[in-house]
């Protein structure tokens, strides 16, 4: 990047005091290690919180004598673990992709990031909502089975409908977000034509 500078370029390229902060290799490694440690700490906290939530769910489930409720609690906990694992997998994939593309042209780098985010949002049922559904259904049916006959079935159906509506709303929001990202991708692709 070196042509004879015009007036604007000369102003832009002129040294501007202490803006250029040099880092030694030791400082670079130290900061890189601190970034990695921060990510690892955040992951640990998420795993501990997720594990505690799953344990609490199972414990609450086992307060019931109903085998269906117990099974539902275990399935919910397993579903939660699947979601946590998927979140972890996607975070790792995102940081690996960012590392691999960071020296690409911005248009390619940005597109790769948008495509990854769009795909994650589009597939929300398979990695986020879906794994929770079986456990929630079994758990709700188990609870409903313990209710008195006149209210048990309608209550169970009502709760399942509410869960279904909430999940559909979450999915719809994600689809809308994915559509916005797709529009941005289309814009990038159009500008490349």
């Amino acid at each position: 990047m070196s042509n004879a500078p015009d007036e604007l370029q000369a102003m832009w390229l002129a040294p501007s005091g202490n803006e250029e902060e040099r880092m030694t290799l030791a400082e670079i490694r130290d900061r890189a290690n601190r970034i990695d440690a921060r990510v690892a700490r955040r992951n640990r906290i998420e795993y501990i919180a997720g594990g505690a939530a799953a344990a609490a769910y199972v414990a609450i489930g086992f307060l019931s004598e109903s085998p269906i409720v117990r099974l539902g609690a275990i399935m919910c906990a397993l579903g939660g673990f699947v979601v946590m694992w998927q979140l972890h997998r996607q975070a790792r994939s995102a940081s690996r992709e960012e590392y691999e593309h960071v020296a690409d042209r911005w248009i390619d780098f940005h597109r790769a990031m948008l495509v990854r985010q769009r795909d994650a949002l589009r597939s929300i049922w398979s990695w986020y909502l879906g794994p929770l559904v079986p456990g929630l259904i079994v758990f709700t049916v188990g609870i409903g089975e313990g209710l008195p006959a006149p209210v048990g079935v309608p209550t169970t159906i009502g709760v399942l409908v509410i869960i279904g509506v909430i999940f559909q709303a979450i999915a719809r929001l994600n689809r809308k977000a994915a559509a916005r990202l797709q529009a941005e991708i289309d814009l990038l692709d159009g500008s490349q034509g």
């Binding site: 990047m1 604007l8 370029q9 960071v102």
Partner: protein
Amino acid sequence: MTVEQDDHYLEATKDHGAILARLARVFEANPDLRRDLLQDMHVALWRSLARFDHRCALSTWVYRVGYNVAASHAARERRIQPGIALDENLPAASVAAAIEVSDGLERLYEIVRQLEPPDRQIMLMYLEGADARLIAEEVNLQSGAVATRIHRFKAALTQKFQEPADVQRP
């Protein structure tokens, strides 16, 4: 982590480190956050240089890493929203905002900060001294289109710099 990586990093920052500082200044107005961003850019550059393959000039590599890290930071922070499109004339509002600051260089940063991609990238690369062909490759536009945008930018900017007294403050 190799000796070659360290050598590339030292060479890159010695010759082109100022590019990172300027990019950080464009994408982050807050001095404290800017310092953090700049350090993140240096770490990303150092890490990336483990696989520097000479597919492009070192200066271009440094620029790309810096730009991508800074643009991602800006997208996360949402501090540069909304941007403006580069028209035949820079919008008066953005120029008026820029005129608020006294220093000409600060005005320039303020205006570039508010541009939208790909205009921001085109102007940044132009200001860094890249030729229209290289800029066109980076943003996937025709060289002629890039040259036209640069011409408009320079004309509008030069005019605005010459008549700061005409800008009415609210």
